[in-house]
Amino acid sequence: MPSLKHALTGGVYELQADGLIKVTENDLTGFFHPDGAYESGELTHADLHLLGWLGGKQTDPTANRHAQALIKKNK
């Protein structure tokens, strides 16, 4: 499942099959909704914007300025 590491905190954000995001930071784990709401776990707060980025509605992952041209070039 899609996952990201927070560049400032080092926390790992992992999208779960049920749409929640599992966040592991400083040996604590919590589960959150994409809108930032806490669901369960010892970790009770996570980065709202990274939760939304990973768990919100997605777009074509290649549809960004830096990736697109290279993908075309490499085809």
Binding site: S3, A63, A69, N74
Partner: protein, 448 residues
Amino acid sequence: MGSEERLDISAHSAGISYQDLIASDRVQAPDVLKMVSPIDLPTTKVPVSQFTTREFHDLEMAKLWPKVWQMACREEEIPREGDHIIYEIGKYSIIVIRTAEGIKAHHNSCLHRGRRLRDRDGRVFQFTCPFHGFTWNIDGSLKHIPSRWDFPDIVDEEFGLPSAKVGTWGGWVFINMDENAEPLQDFLGVLPDHFKIWQPENCYIQAHVAKIMATNWKVVQEAFMEAYHVIMTHPQMLPGIGDENSQYDVWGNISRAVTPNGTPSPHLSYNPDEQAMFDAMSDRRMDAPPIVEIPEGMTARGTSAAGSRQTANDLTGREVSDAELVDSIYYTVFPNFHPWSPFNRIQYRFRPYQDDHRKSVMEVYFLAPFKGERPAPAKTHWLTEQQDWTDAEELGMLARVFNQDSMNLPNVQIGLEAAQNEEVIFSRYQETKIRHFHHLLNEYISRA
């Protein structure tokens, strides 16, 4: 702006300066990106009431919008005689129409009983009021009054539609409701020179998305005038964006920010390698392979630029620089128009939604270069207040970036309404563009 003082530009960033960064690029930046024009302005604090009250909205309606040049549409949206758009700003409604004599702008109100003459964009060869049939030619002159005998006081020659001034630059159409306004070219100052190499007149509207926001127009606009918010709002970008390395400049009614990509944020406590920088730029997940592996000796900036250079070179007939292809170069034309350099395609306009000071319209244009026959401009894709930016698939990954911004914006409005402090405060350098905006806004509002 007599109280200006020059900033010491070496004092503003913890990391490499933008000028030092582009000096090491393989393909050198054009002269326009080597210009540095920082400015310090007296405005650092702005009353909260300017974002929250009907009274300040009414001041803007009386002293700003009827007096300032503002972008109304693109020339390509009205290519034929009779083609017109309705440009609305608060309570004002202007018909912008192409005539045999050029583009004209008329106030969209029947001089008989006041009905809006046109409810929608389209093509007409006269304006006939749907209420009683008063009719004007598209140049604004009176054409016909039903039961003409019943209006003995009307003098035909004096009964033309009130007009607004029109100017064009770069394929954009501007209007100004003040008949004594300075010419558009004087108002724009350095802008046409800066954009000469980018030729926006030779670009077309590839996408146009307009979203209603539950937020004052200035609150929304100001979220797109600095890179200072990236640290908190767009954390996924940090390994590949020099947010704090951005350069901010001001010239007259124009401001500019340049935010470098392919360089790490000075806020990070580690040094990402070139691959990590590129991965952040291309939104690589931990579980996914890289879009491209950065070859030994290459940089993230160079790799990103190389990917799009050939297309850009073909379109422009010159070797396009790394900076133009990789960085975010975003100008602001006071008060609400934000042209970017064309290889990023983004252009913004922000304005009040109808006559509501707590709602606004955020518009995103993708303005793209083309070769050969001009493609038809994209129609406006409207999103409601409740819709997600990703409902506009044409925006690609940018829609998700806007969703992050949109998680803040209505909450800024709510917070401002609840604020006990009387002023908001803007930073000295990174919020230069916003301070410049408020400085000019206050000049307009203070005028008699």
